[in-house]
């Protein structure tokens, strides 16, 4: 009889998720060739990631932002407001460039959904930035300095009522809604429901219902892509994302300046709040992996990059809860694919403190020779195809850099070629040359 999940070791859990990924249930491959390609690709990734066996060649994955839209001659606005245009563009991108995986097509969030809820956290094409550019975050203190106790003592209340009322204009009234914890007897049962009869709360809930309809329309398109791509032979390189607790607070709750003030003015509260967020962000990844039958959980890292924090600050504020999230994922069989945006040169020694073969680190601008040296035998390294070469470099420069990366990082396996940062419009011939070079030059003999 098969072992129950709870009885498995973490290795068995990971192997079980990899097995589900390599042999997915219910996928109807379009051809025997597609099925063969799918198996080869997932096996190639697994071998590179686990650093136990050398893969047949270096795997290559692409993480585009709006690049597939631009490649099809569409603007970001086009795909955010016409959901039918998303799948054909993203599919064409994968079929034309033939990377070893796909990353879903959820980059274009549904524009009308954002309009209905009056999303305040970002500017998006046609809404604060021009229709032909990507969306951009608006830094701010969406959580006030004096609200740590609410987040710490009552995180669900914070995320159900306070947070949405700040980042969605249409939901502003819900911050005033009372708890329903007082509804435990017949007497007084109706009191906390009185606000639901008032026009502001009714309008907020009406907006929620309409936004829900819109989200459903969008996912029917976007979700179809996730079914179609494996059938065509392209595995998904992530089941879902999660984040480092420091980034959760520093990116969009307190903002960069806010969290930096808190490091001085209320360091204990900040640390306590990150500890509270830790299990929530482990669960986020674990649920995604189990639902998708794919162990790969992406973790984009932001505010721990070189220069953002001193060594001591990184070790005190950033790394402890990041490591806990990573280990929480690993314990449940997930494979954290950690994307260190910016430079991570000063962190290489610290991040070595991880179990062998349980994580992958995708680097943006880090010195790859040093990264490979530091993580050799500990983790798979990935990335470093630079934006400048993709955007303004010559094709030969892109090819040369690709070969250098394979020589430096690809020795004995444990390397995945990938772009270092999210990309939009690039020199398509360079992108094609990179993928093709990996397929020729990156073969292990």
């Amino acid at each position: 009889m098969e072992k129950q999940w709870e009885e498995m070791t973490l290795e068995e859990k990971q192997e079980s998720l990899f097995a589900r990924w390599i042999s997915p249930e219910g996928v109807k491959f379009v051809s025997p060739e597609a099925e063969k390609a799918y198996k080869e690709r997932t096996t190639r990734f697994k071998n590179a990631l686990q650093i136990k066996t050398k893969p047949d060649r270096v795997p290559v994955l692409l993480i585009p932002s709006f690049a597939p839209a631009y490649y099809s001659g569409l603007t970001p606005h086009d795909v955010m407001y016409n959901y039918d245009k998303i799948t054909p563009a993203w599919k064409k991108f994968s079929l034309d460039f033939q990377p070893d995986s796909h990353g879903g097509c959820a980059v274009p969030s549904p524009g009308k959904f954002l309009d209905i809820l009056d999303f305040k956290l970002y500017k998006w094409p046609g809404h604060g930035v021009s229709k032909d550019t990507t969306y951009q975050c608006i830094e701010g203190e969406y959580m006030r300095a004096d609200e740590y106790d609410i987040l710490i003592n009552n995180p669900l209340y914070f995320f159900y009522y306070i947070w949405p009322s700040r980042v969605f204009g249409a939901l502003e009234p819900i911050a005033t809604l009372p708890h329903l914890s007082c509804v435990t007897e017949m007497y007084g049962v109706a009191f906390p429901f009185i606000p639901y009869g008032t026009p502001p709360i009714k309008a907020a809930y009406q907006a929620l219902l309409e936004a829900g309809d819109e989200a459903l329309k969008w996912i029917q398109v976007v979700g179809g892509f996730d079914v179609e791509m494996p059938a065509l032979g392209f595995p998904a390189h992530q089941a879902g994302p999660t984040k480092a607790p420091f980034d959760v607070i520093g990116d969009t709750l307190r903002g960069t300046k806010g969290i930096m003030m808190d490091m001085y003015r209320q360091p204990d509260k900040l640390i306590e709040a990150m500890e509270i967020l830790t299990p929530m962000f482990i669960q986020l990844g674990v649920d995604a992996a189990k639902n998708a039958g794919n162990p790969l959980i992406f973790m984009p890292l932001h505010k721990g990059a070189d220069g953002f924090l001193s060594d001591d600050q990184y070790k005190k504020f950033y790394w402890p809860t990041l490591r806990k999230v990573i280990m929480g994922l690993v314990d449940e069989g997930c494979f954290p694919f950690i994307w260190a945006e910016g430079g991570y040169n000063s962190r290489l020694e610290v991040i070595r403190d991880l179990p062998k073969g349980k994580t992958a680190w995708l680097f943006d601008q880090t010195n790859m020779t040093k990264a490979k040296e530091a993580l050799d035998g500990i983790a798979c390294v990935a990335g470093n195809m630079p934006m400048d070469l993709l955007t303004v470099g010559t094709t030969q420069e892109a090819i040369d850099h690709t070969k250098r990366l394979i020589d430096t990082c690809g020795k004995n396996g444990g390397y995945i070629m990938a772009n270092g940062a999210f990309f939009d419009e690039v020199r398509w011939e360079n992108l094609r040359a990179i993928v093709d070079t990996v397929k020729e030059y990156g073969v292990y003999k």
Partner: protein
């Protein structure tokens, strides 16, 4: 007490710094002297940042403490004291890009190093750079950008400066997120600075050369 303020502010001791300022103002001390001490402290902060002892959180926090000091001193200030400035710079995040963390750090470092910085903010159209260069006569321009779309915005800004007949009157530096020497060539700027210190070094070199 002057040394105390310089030391505690440079060491980022907020409460102590504010208390010293309040005490000195209470003793009817000349407000400009207090501001001069604060300026000296910020120079030390800038130096520590350049030396790799301080990082972004420390800079940001020092700025907040300074803001608190200014708020205490301002009501007592009769006329604004003029600080001698070593050079003028027009600075901004280029069109289409709204990122400002990196730009603010460079502007801060230029400021504590004695430069007069005209900070145009974010998403700055090329024409706004041109107008400010004309109006201020600044010989140095700093273009900041985080996104790859900024590559083209920077190129267009440099071209607009050229079209306005100002290209030989200014030196242009670029920096931020995905910038590099390759992108410098692409945009037609004069230099790429990898970090805030590089920006200050370029500005110092250029303002020295232009005098």
């Amino acid at each position: 007490m002057a040394e105390d303020l310089v030391k505690v502010l440079a060491d980022l001791k907020e409460e102590e710094a504010l208390k010293i300022v309040a005490d000195r103002l209470g003793a009817d001390e000349e407000p400009l002297k207090i501001l001069e001490d604060a300026r000296r402290a910020m120079e030390i902060v800038g130096k520590r940042f350049a030396d790799g002892e301080y990082f972004i959180p420390d800079l940001v926090y020092s700025g907040e403490i300074l803001k608190g000091i200014n708020e205490l001193v301002k009501p007592k200030l009769a006329g604004a004291g003029e600080t001698k400035r070593v050079g003028k710079i027009v600075f901004g995040t280029v069109a289409g890009d709204i990122h400002d963390i990196g730009k603010n750090i460079v502007v801060f470092m230029l400021d504590v190093n004695g430069f007069e910085v005209y900070d145009l903010g974010v998403d700055v159209p090329a024409q706004a750079f041109v107008d400010k260069i004309k109006e201020s006569g600044a010989p140095i321009v700093g273009l900041s950008g985080f996104l790859s779309l900024a590559f083209d915005s920077m190129k267009e800004t440099v071209e607009a400066i050229k079209a306005a007949g100002l290209r030989d009157k200014v030196k242009i530096m670029i920096g931020g997120g995905q910038m590099s020497d390759e992108i410098k060539k692409y945009t037609g700027a004069d230099a790429y600075g990898q970090d805030a210190m590089a920006g200050v070094a370029l500005a110092a070199k250029w303002s020295g050369a232009s005098e």
